[in-house]
């Protein structure tokens, strides 16, 4: 069974995980379901040979979980504890969604994504915008890295004595270059026929395989468990 999933399955996973992270787990059963849902994208990351990010996420998530269960309780007081509660609360709650999103963005080809959107009859305008967003993540990363370098060279990584400037110095060049790149990018894409009236074709064959169905069923079940145990029973 190949590890390659249909983009539609991946989108469905994002949808379900995002919904689930919005509901807090209150009973051991719900915790088990939620942790299982987090493990799936982690395993998928390993299957795609993204060991580094899988390891990093696992450790982050594990630390947050261990801290939450072993050291923190509703009676915790003190500055350290409150900081930890902040970190753990956010990490435990939202990391599952982040991991899933990371997995999807890193393993979906733009081409696949576009044809999945087309199969689902999503209007071109929305599909193209989303595709451009996906295409932009690595670009932003590259640009951000060189801006950080430039700031270190000037010794202003921390705003040059003025912390309020820290964000400004980083964001302004970043926005400028992203706008420029975006502009050139659209021009290049348009000259190659993007946005035409003809129906786009795709060389990627999309097919829901056994693995896709298993995941779809699994995630649906998990979501149902959450909804039923929290709101029905």
């Amino acid at each position: 069974m190949s590890a390659k999933l249909d983009p539609r399955t991946k989108l469905y996973m994002i949808l379900i995980v995002s919904a689930v992270v919005m509901m807090s787990a209150t009973t051991p059963l719900l915790w088990v379901v939620r942790i299982a849902m987090t493990l799936i994208p982690l395993i998928l990351l390993v299957a795609e040979k993204r060991y580094a990010s899988a390891l990093r996420f696992t450790i982050l998530y594990a630390i947050a979980l261990v801290l939450t269960f072993c050291f923190l309780s509703e009676e915790s007081t003190g500055i350290l504890q409150s900081l930890l509660i902040g970190y753990c609360g956010i990490a435990v709650q939202f990391l599952p969604a982040l991991i899933t999103a990371w997995y999807v963005v890193r393993t979906t080809k733009i081409d696949e994504f576009m044809s999945a959107m087309q199969r689902m009859h999503v209007p071109d305008g929305i599909a193209i915008s989303l595709a451009v967003v996906m295409r932009f993540f690595p670009t932003i990363k590259e640009e951000y890295a060189s801006i950080t370098d430039a700031m270190r060279m000037r010794g202003i990584s921390f705003g040059g004595g003025r912390p309020s400037k820290m964000v400004e110095y980083r964001m302004i060049p970043l926005l400028f270059s992203c706008v420029n790149i975006g502009d050139e990018l659209s021009a290049a894409a348009i000259t190659r026929g993007l946005g035409g009236k003809v129906k786009r074709t795709s060389v990627e064959e999309l097919r829901l395989r056994v693995s896709d169905w298993i995941l779809i069923l699994g995630f649906t079940a998990a979501a149902s468990v959450f909804v039923i145990f929290k709101y029905v029973l």
């Binding site: 295409r135 021009a187 290049a188 074709t201």
Partner: protein
């Protein structure tokens, strides 16, 4: 049909919101199968012509357009851009911003998919194109890990995949090294053989001179000169120079430097200078969580390995080598931006380690937009000073000829002016070792001369300048020494012949 394949008649154009016209009653006809070169200074209207032919003007870049443009029977003004996709293909200047996909295969099939070709047919066509351009090795990879030259090959392939009859290239060699330009030349030659109509806008002329049928020289939105390919190839040096064009040929010595042919040149020993010690670095060994590893001389897979190198003080040193051979890595390591590289700089009896290196070094990046942070030129320079000293700031700006812009936002300046602002902040930061990463890519000859002059004057003011470049012309203009880097190692450092005499 073959006559007047592309017809531009009495075109005037200015961009929306600009009061300066870019084209001035321009008329031009191009025959089918012709290979034409557009040259001339930056801002003379070359890119505007390219955009007229591919329809980006007036459909994407809006403005006031008068006159008519007719390409292969399509009236551009009345034709939607997507209808032109199979007729006109464009290779753009910057490889990093012309990709829609993130993987090479997806990029090549992107065009055919857009025009709704049958999947089987697309796959066949991809096979053909890949075989024809010999890029089998590049398939199945992420576009972000390719070198500039490889990216440009993919860009050419993805344009060719639509089988356009007209191919436009807008300064395609700007970011390429000698070897990659050679490949580009081959691609253009093959297109020419296939009978495509090719229009190239370019500053680098030497690689095209035997290839083009016609050359158009533009100035201020008009066609000033027109030569046949043969006339152009035999033009003498003085005339080329008087028109502010880049040279048609590179002097033999330098071209062998760039081709990396002879290897028996010995590194010159320099007694008094800036010494770099123990610069080792590798991209290949990235620990997963925490990184803590010292690279050593005999580690395997080093991207940079310089046990000891003495750079002559107060000179301009050109750093050359192929794309991806370690020039940028070298610059980044020298100025201390790669934290894992523990090299030591010895200058004037002092040793600089770790973060201290950032204090005496300053790098002007290839994309200067990344290093301008504030809202005015003046603030930009003051930011670099330990203690704000307005008088000195004005002196520096004055010296670089940008004092009049002191109140302007750096992003509102032209590319060359931005570069000067970056240099001004380098001077303000008291950097003695100034590093330039390809400062002249995509510049016309006039601007290149200016940059060359500037680098020389920096060296004359007791700075040591290292400049990584692919432009033999720039080396000829201003460099005293050439440092050749190959696979992360110093191949040689030698004096540029005649540099001393020119000075005297």
């Amino acid at each position: 049909m073959s006559e007047n394949f592309i017809k531009i008649q009495h075109v005037n154009f200015k961009y929306k919101g600009s009061d300066k016209g870019l084209l001035d009653d321009l008329s031009l006809t191009i025959n089918k199968g012709e290979t034409m070169l557009l040259t001339g200074a930056s801002g003379s209207g070359k890119t505007t012509i390219i955009r007229l032919i591919n329809g980006l003007i007036p459909h994407y870049y809006q403005g006031e357009l008068e006159g008519s443009v007719d390409v292969a029977g399509y009236d551009i003004v009345k034709t939607e851009l997507y209808e032109l996709a199979g007729v006109v293909g464009t290779v753009f200047q910057n490889p990093r911003s012309q990709f829609f996909s993130v993987d090479t295969d997806g990029e090549i099939v992107f065009g055919p998919e857009n025009i709704g070709m049958d999947a089987g047919e697309i796959r066949e066509r991809k096979q053909d194109i890949v075989g024809e351009m010999h890029i089998e090795k590049l398939m199945g990879r992420s576009l972000f890990e390719l070198s500039g030259g490889e990216k440009q090959s993919i860009a050419c392939a993805s344009v060719a995949a639509l089988l356009p009859e007209v191919i436009l290239l807008d300064e395609p060699s700007s970011n390429l090294d000698q070897g990659a330009i050679g490949n580009l030349r081959e691609v253009i030659r093959r297109w020419k053989e296939q009978g495509k109509t090719i229009i190239i806008s370019e500053h680098r002329l030497w690689y095209l001179k035997d290839l083009v049928d016609r050359v158009i020289y533009m100035e201020a939105g008009r066609i000033c000169h027109e030569w046949s390919g043969a006339e152009f190839a035999s033009m003498d040096r003085d005339k080329v120079r008087s028109l502010q064009m880049r040279p048609l040929a590179v002097s033999d010595m330098l071209s062998s430097d760039f081709a990396g042919e002879d290897s028996d040149i010995q590194t010159q020993e320099i007694s008094d200078g800036i010494t770099l010690k123990d610069f080792y670095f590798s991209y290949n060994k990235k620990p997963y969580l925490i990184r803590k590893k010292r690279f050593r001389e005999n580690d395997e897979g080093l991207s940079l390995c310089i046990p000891r190198l003495t750079l002559p003080k107060n000179t301009v040193i050109g750093v050359i080598g192929h794309n991806g051979t370690g020039k940028s890595t070298f610059l980044k390591c020298v100025c201390g931006l790669e934290k894992d590289c523990n090299g030591i700089i010895e200058a004037a009896g002092k040793e600089y380690k770790g973060k201290d290196r950032l204090k005496i070094c300053y790098m002007v990046m290839q994309d200067v937009n990344h290093q301008l942070f504030t809202d005015s030129v003046e603030a930009e320079v003051l930011l670099s000073m330990e203690e704000e000293d307005k008088k000195r700031c004005y002196q520096i700006l004055e010296g670089l000829g940008i004092l009049e812009f002191k109140g302007k936002h750096p992003m509102a300046l032209s590319g060359g002016q931005k570069q000067r602002v970056a240099i001004a902040s380098a001077i303000a930061a008291d950097a003695k070792l100034m590093l330039f990463d390809e400062p002249t890519s995509g510049l016309d000859f006039c601007h290149m001369e200016k940059v060359g002059g500037l680098l020389k004057s920096l060296a004359a003011e007791n700075n040591t300048v290292l400049v990584a470049t692919h432009d033999p012309e720039l080396i000829e203009l201003c460099c005293d020494y050439v440092l050749c880097i190959e696979n992360g190692r110093v191949k040689y450092l030698r004096q540029v012949n005649g540099a001393g005499e020119e000075r005297a």
